[in-house]
Symmetry: C2
Subunit: 341 residues, 2 copies
């Protein structure tokens, strides 16, 4: 039996070949009614889309590659959810590559995506990424590249980030307003701008409220649950007094809570804790973990929209600066830091 083609569908419905082709890839210019008719006829004729042939004609694969540092972190899987939502509606498929925070893996992921002829790459860089010729290669090939959360400013690429400075500021301000004064900040050894900005927000909030910034209250390390525990142990062993902790991310904050509880410290009465990123577990633990929300789904949706915009505007953006979207962080107050009203 001869395999049915797009031409067969077009003939049966008495519409053009290109209308069928666009309907099949869910082109926004085709009405929902036409799309439904095409899909029904395709099913009736037992038509199976030859995506490779269709991509060779159009030069597009309708595949987007997304590089994430770690899928164990719900922040990243939530952003992916937002990207998928918008891209699927626009007829694209999403492939994911996990860099595991390793530069070599990130390079390999980009190679793999280029080899698969993706139409674009959306990425959040690893903690190790300081050189970035692999990202330049994407741009040199004229393939749209969008960053989210962790971007490389020097590359002048469209990006969606949140205002990490503001996030650090409101987290610290909240602790101050709850009456805490000796506020520890746990930050990262890595030089990623997002962590530097959170630290800067912390410092400025203290100064705004007339509280001196003390170096002994700023701890730097490999962030993790274990590191959070270790920080509390270290502060206690060194006899450094503190009444609150703002940790750069939620797992570290969770370690802080566990170690404080192990010492019999009352949370939030004696010591308050706030994290960053609004990981899913923070609503399940007791006390609930206060944190900073990063509008993850919106971040993914905006990243997808920046990609679609870049595809549409392929000509005519020369010389214009790339679009940068900065989302506002939100304060989520739970039991770990609510001791007033």
């Amino acid at each position: 039996m001869k395999k049915p083609t797009i031409h067969d569908i077009a003939r049966e419905l008495n519409i053009t070949f290109s209308t069928v082709a666009r309907a099949l890839r869910n082109h926004p210019g085709i009405s929902e009614a036409t799309k439904a008719a095409v899909r029904q006829m395709a099913e009736k004729l037992n038509y199976r889309q030859n995506k490779l042939a269709s991509s060779l004609r159009s030069g597009n694969t309708y595949i987007i590659g997304v590089i994430v540092p770690s899928l164990h972190v719900s922040f990243f899987s939530s952003v992916v959810h937002g990207i998928e939502k918008v891209m699927n509606e626009n007829g694209y498929s999403i492939l994911l590559y996990q860099s595991n925070e390793l530069l070599q893996q990130e390079i390999r992921g980009i190679d793999t995506f280029l080899q698969s002829h993706v139409d674009g790459i959306i990425s959040s860089v690893t903690l190790e990424t300081e050189a970035y010729s692999h990202y330049e290669e994407i741009k040199n090939r004229n393939i749209p590249l969008i960053f989210f959360d962790r971007a490389i400013a020097a590359l002048e690429t469209p990006a969606v980030t949140i205002d990490d400075y503001q996030g650090g500021f409101i987290a610290t301000e909240h602790l101050i307003q709850q009456g805490y004064r000796r506020i520890v900040h746990i930050t990262a050894e890595q030089s990623l701008p997002i962590f530097k900005e959170r630290l800067r927000g912390y410092q400025d909030a203290l100064q705004r409220y007339g509280i001196p910034v003390q170096e002994e209250l700023i701890l730097q390390g490999q962030f993790s649950l274990e590191y959070g525990r270790a920080c509390v142990q270290q502060l206690r062993e060194q006899g450094i007094a503190f009444d609150a902790v703002f940790a750069l991310e939620d797992y570290t904050a969770m370690g802080v809570i566990q170690q404080l509880l192990a010492y019999g410290v009352k949370i939030p009465e004696e010591t308050g804790v706030i994290g960053f990123a609004n990981e899913a577990f923070g609503a399940l633990v007791q006390p609930g973990l206060s944190t900073i929300d990063q509008q993850t789904v919106k971040m993914g949706q905006e990243a997808a929209r920046l990609f679609l915009k870049q595809i549409r505007d392929k000509q005519g953006t020369e010389g214009r600066p790339p679009e940068q979207i900065v989302l506002a962080p939100g304060l989520i107050v739970r039991g770990s830091s609510r001791r007033m009203g």
Copy 2:
């Protein structure tokens, strides 16, 4: 400047073209010393691998597609970690596609992987997957297909699963041994074999210990945290007494705990709770959530090994039944069910 090629590296090191090619794709037959020398020379000559050309020669892309129902569930991201570990060591890259538990998305993911010319597909099917012609298409194309956790038995495909019957049995037996007698089981509406097996294990454990199986204690629904809460509310409203709950997965179990605590029920003194899957949050909440461990990383590693085996044995397996690996589940006892000793 002329672009450096594999031939240039081979000439400089005085080894054969094929040795360089295999070293570059990390072939297990090449020594680590040779690989290191090749990598160094490649870097010195500024050689950039043309993977597409190399894949056209070999017919292989060294890309594996992995389909997971949901990356929000740490069970799946842990299995992926195991797959990545073995496959990366063997020179393969892993691309992920998230089906979001939707059959249509799963079909689309397979199309996308076939379009990307992956060397194989490793998948765990969605809750909706009852027809499976899309999986037959992979087999018809002679592309290795491996299932993990959720498999389609009729397809006679190599698979790694855990013994869900045994998991249901030991979870229930543990509750009985802790002195609980009226044990609720929350199961799924879906017909997936894994959930049926857990239910069967629950029923058999009760019978083994001379406890009657009571239909009013078996609840069926869309599993989720919210559904877990709803189950406890429903049992209370209907005046059905119970002293323990075995939920088919951890989020549902967490909902049960939250609602019990909201009613002021003491856990584990008055009511015991156990889940299934060992999600990461279970160790962070208070009380800790007892659960069944599914050896996730090992599951991923074994799935990867089944793939490698299929590649190696491409000839000569005709007529032999496909290899099925069944891992043993492990009991993890935490505060939610430990009331004796």
